[in-house]
């Protein structure tokens, strides 16, 4: 049986799919987005968090696949209209474990949230095992992506197209409105162009920037230094008129 490392589980979550969700946050991410609102999800290792009251908390708990699956089945039994969501960090970094757990959740509505930064085959496998994908797209131009997320967008875009072409699972783009990085004219134009080429995209959901992000960096004993902007939410320009519906999530 496989094991995985998780930095948080949120029960009765109300942002991560239909109905009441139990959301598992996988620890470890290949991206280093400057605005990242879950810095404790970046390292794939357990780490001590420094809490505001001076105490410390160990972040990162290792689960066996069946142990986690049992916990999730018991939660899901109480939420017949909802289900289980895997988020991160980056789910694809622990794809084997995630697949193992997903396979142990028959009859339960499953959502996976991913940035697409991982192996294409893993994404397709996982998509085949769940009911909905939230694809967390960020900066589209490869060089800009390298600058803002620490990784070029080429693999991500390739995986997005593969998901669109080869998988039957529905997906939604989820995009944080980070001014100066994502909520720019250039990126909105690229996004519109990109979505015209996608056949099975259901919708785009924009997310407001997380005002609590700086405090979370302090807890990880790091500095929140996005350099480009504060935590304001960017606007959607008037020219942004994709073919799919879009909305801003509160």
């Amino acid at each position: 049986m496989s094991q995985g490392i998780i930095f948080d589980i949120s029960e009765a979550s109300i942002h991560d799919g239909p109905g009441l969700r139990t959301t598992v946050f996988m620890k470890g991410c290949p991206l280093r987005c400057r605005w990242c609102h879950s810095p404790e999800g970046q390292s794939p290792e357990p780490e001590m968090l420094q809490l505001p009251d001076g105490s410390q908390r160990l972040c990162g708990k290792v689960y066996q696949a069946e142990e986690l699956a049992q916990y999730l089945r018991e939660c899901a039994a109480l939420t017949p209209e909802g289900g289980i969501t895997f988020s991160g960090g980056e789910v694809l970094m622990q794809a084997g474990f995630v697949k193992d757990v997903l396979s142990r959740l028959p009859g339960i509505h499953k959502v996976v949230e991913t940035s697409g930064a991982g192996k294409g085959q893993d994404l397709l496998d996982i998509a085949g095992m769940c009911d909905l994908i939230y694809f967390g797209l960020k900066v589209i131009a490869p060089a800009d992506a390298m600058n803002f997320t620490g990784m070029s967008s080429e693999i991500i875009l390739k995986n997005l197209h593969a998901l669109d072409l080869e998988s039957q699972t529905e997906y939604i783009l989820r995009i944080p409105l980070i001014p100066g990085a994502i909520a720019t004219e250039k990126n909105f134009k690229a996004l519109m162009e990109l979505t015209f080429g996608l056949k099975r995209l259901r919708a785009i959901e924009f997310l407001r920037a997380n005002k609590l992000a700086p405090a979370k960096y302090t807890r990880c004993r790091r500095k929140f230094a996005p350099e480009f902007a504060d935590c304001r939410t960017g606007d959607i320009p008037a020219f942004f008129t994709p073919e799919v519906p879009f909305s801003i999530l509160d």
């Binding site: 029960e11 009765a12 109905g19 939660c75 109480l78 017949p80 209209e81 909802g82």
Partner: protein, 674 residues
């Protein structure tokens, strides 16, 4: 609210009506009656005296009539016996018969051959009290005539003597009798299943065109506001601790769905009036309609600390298992706070409290001192619980007026304290359960299993309130905690409640067949047993890492400072309790953060949280709104927050009127669902 009703609301909040209270209830004279006369005579004489001192007040523009003109409380001297409290009159009897028909029944009973002297005493007393109620209503009618208020006069010449014929008359009958029952010393009264007994009147008024739905709502608004007019006189420990619970939904006595349009209208009305009374309770089951749950959630969002939810699928079987007939169980309501009560009884649902954490703490300290095994420790917990279980069989005070509207007291010619009722049971709260379970789990894991803390070190740490033992305290805090559905803490929690229920089951019934019903509530004890060292069940530092002076939680909730994984883990934890043995009630106390309700989907998700609560097999739930920032600001700037309401335990109160210890306990609660 329309302008007229808003005006009554404002005056109520401003204490305007207190100006009518000109005289004091003559407490010494009343006490004298109880000391010099047989109880049946004293209780009637006391009411007569008080009603004669009351002055009818007819206020223009108001639709309900009774305003207190006497200050103070009409409480019989405690040595006279335990008064009726925490019970709901059977309002259906009043609405069906009115007072005159009850008097006719009494006269018929008195004419029966071979009378029993006890019965005669009771019947004569009841006759006198009911007659005095009619006389008093007549004085109100005369005052209305004198004031030229024809509508009021017409109502008061008829109600409550004759049966009401419409919703306005029905509510006036209840309000008038409720107010007079308070003058007999009867307190913490409930309003029972109002959507059931009021529904025929509501339906009649809509069908006959007497009222529109909106007008019926306005009538209810005014009635609800009236329930807040005198509540500074009715409160027990703090203002707001005055019962006035109202039950909605659930099933009929035949098991079919009881929800109707009045269920919804009452929920909507409570949301509009947004006052501390009446406290709304909602009975739910797997099939409860979504629109009812949605209305309940909208009310919860209003931040009043209700509705409180009761899971019929767990409550009814537990009441039946205890021995109540199925039909009575299906017709249950709650007492002042959360205790499940049936109609035809003289139960005392909150007789006493057992401090479960104290029982655990005593056993732990002994076991550490005497180097006992964990098995021996658990035996000691059982013994310590047994020691705290009282034999709560008090002398009961008669109340023939209450008896006239309860069960078959008149038919049996017996007061409710003396065979008129069918059930004479007692309720005992088992409080501090999460602190108890967490203490045992910490000792089991760290002292016995992992051997990370030596017994003498734990004992010294506890005796020194962890001063100089900070590391021990931190270790203890790492043990499994109640609320996370973990094996060890679950096992300890279930051990505690089984031990509690078993200790209670050992108590033999009293002469009336009364047995004790164990419950899971904490009531005021989270303050009384942690802040007052003179309390006989005062709790010192505990082995879960809790320092002396820190609170324990309200009823069923993870211990203060413990943040559970989430709402579902809390339900999974508490869904495993042996509720079939715990029929006295006591809710899971769950606080939701303001952020939760800011989400546009909050109501939809809330409906599913309630469904999860039912599915998990939990018994009772308070799902309150906790806005810590606002509460902290209200402590600093009370004048800005005078209408801020919070759930305190079985009741809601105005936050700024609470003693600081209660404010602090609420602020220390965890909020979920951000």
């Amino acid at each position: 609210m329309n302008e007229r009703v808003s005006d009554i609301y404002e005056k109520t909040r401003n204490g305007f009506y207190r100006r009518y209270r000109r005289e004091q209830i003559p407490a010494e004279t009343i006490a004298g009656f109880y000391h010099s006369m047989p109880p049946y005579m004293a209780v009637a004489k006391a009411l007569k005296t008080i009603l004669q001192l009351e002055t009818p007040v007819i206020i223009p523009g108001e639709k309900f009539y009774f305003t207190r003109t006497l200050r103070g409380n009409a409480i019989p001297p405690p040595e006279a016996g335990r008064r009726v409290e925490n019970l709901t009159p059977d309002w259906e009897i009043l609405l069906r018969d009115g007072v005159e028909k009850r008097l006719e029944l009494i006269r018929a009973q008195l004419e029966k051959p071979d009378p029993d002297p006890e019965s005669i005493e009771f019947l004569l007393s009841a006759h006198e009290m009911l007659s005095d109620v009619i006389t008093f209503a007549g004085r109100y009618a005369d005052a209305a005539d004198a004031a030229g208020n024809k509508e009021a006069a017409k109502m008061l010449h008829k109600i409550p003597a004759s049966p009401p014929e419409n919703m306005h008359e029905a509510l006036q009958a209840i309000f008038f009798m409720f107010s007079i029952l308070h003058l007999t010393g009867c307190t913490l009264q409930g309003f029972g299943r109002m959507d059931q007994y009021l529904y025929p009147f509501y339906q009649h008024d809509l069908d006959s065109g007497l009222l529109t739905r909106q007008e019926a709502g306005e009538l209810l608004e005014e009635f609800f506001i009236m329930l807040n007019r005198e509540n500074d006189l009715y409160g027990m420990l703090q203002r707001g601790d005055d019962g006035e619970s109202l039950m909605l939904g659930g099933c009929k006595t035949d098991g079919s769905d009881a929800v109707n349009d009045l269920t919804l209208l009452i929920l909507e009305t409570a949301e509009k009036t947004a006052m501390i009374n009446p406290k709304i309770n909602l009975r739910v089951n797997t099939a409860t309609a979504e629109h009812i749950l949605r209305a309940g959630l909208r009310l919860a969002k209003r931040g009043l600390g209700f509705p409180q939810y009761c899971n019929d699928e767990v409550v009814i079987p537990a009441l039946v298992k205890f021995g109540y007939p199925l039909e009575a169980a299906r017709d249950y309501t709650v007492a002042a706070c959360w205790e499940f009560v049936v109609k035809d009884g003289r139960d005392i649902p909150n007789c006493a409290s057992v401090n479960l954490a104290l029982a655990a703490d005593n056993a732990i300290r002994t076991a550490m001192r005497e180097k006992q095994s964990f098995e021996q420790l658990l035996e000691n917990v059982k013994a310590a619980i047994r020691q705290q279980v009282p034999r709560p069989f008090p002398k009961l005070l008669p109340n023939p007026l209450f008896s006239a509207f309860s069960g078959k007291c008149l038919e049996r010619a017996r007061d409710i304290h003396d065979g008129g009722g069918t059930h004479y049971h007692y309720g005992i709260h088992g409080c501090a359960s999460s602190t108890a379970a967490d203490s045992l789990a910490a000792v089991k894991k760290l002292v016995f299993d992992d051997k990370k803390i030596a017994p003498e070190i734990l004992l010294a740490a506890l005796e020194n309130n962890f001063d100089g033992y900070q590391e021990v305290r931190q270790l203890l805090q790492t043990a499994p905690k109640t609320g996370n559905d973990e094996q060890l803490s679950n096992a300890m929690l279930n051990f505690i409640f089984n031990a509690f229920a078993d200790a209670i089951a050992e108590v033999p019934p009293d002469a009336r067949g009364g047995r004790i019903r164990p419950g899971t509530g904490a009531a005021q004890n989270y303050v009384m047993m942690t802040q007052f060292p003179d309390h006989p069940y005062y709790l010192r530092a505990t082995a879960d890492g809790r320092k002396e002076g820190e609170f324990f939680s309200s009823s069923l909730s993870p211990a203060p400072g413990v943040r559970a994984n989430g709402i579902l883990s809390i339900f999974r934890t508490y869904g495993k309790l042996p509720y079939e043995k715990l029929c006295n009630g006591g809710p899971i106390t769950l606080e939701l953060s303001p952020a939760y309700f800011r989400n546009p989907d909050a109501l939809d998700r809330g409906i599913q949280i309630i469904r999860a609560f039912v599915l998990s097999g939990c018994q009772q739930l308070q799902m309150n709104l906790l806005d810590r920032e606002t509460l902290l600001d209200a402590q600093k700037n009370p004048e800005k927050h005078r209408d801020l309401i919070v759930r305190v335990w079985g009741w809601s109160g105005y936050f700024t009127e609470l003693d600081k210890a209660f404010q602090d306990q609420i602020i220390a609660r965890e909020a979920y669902g951000a």
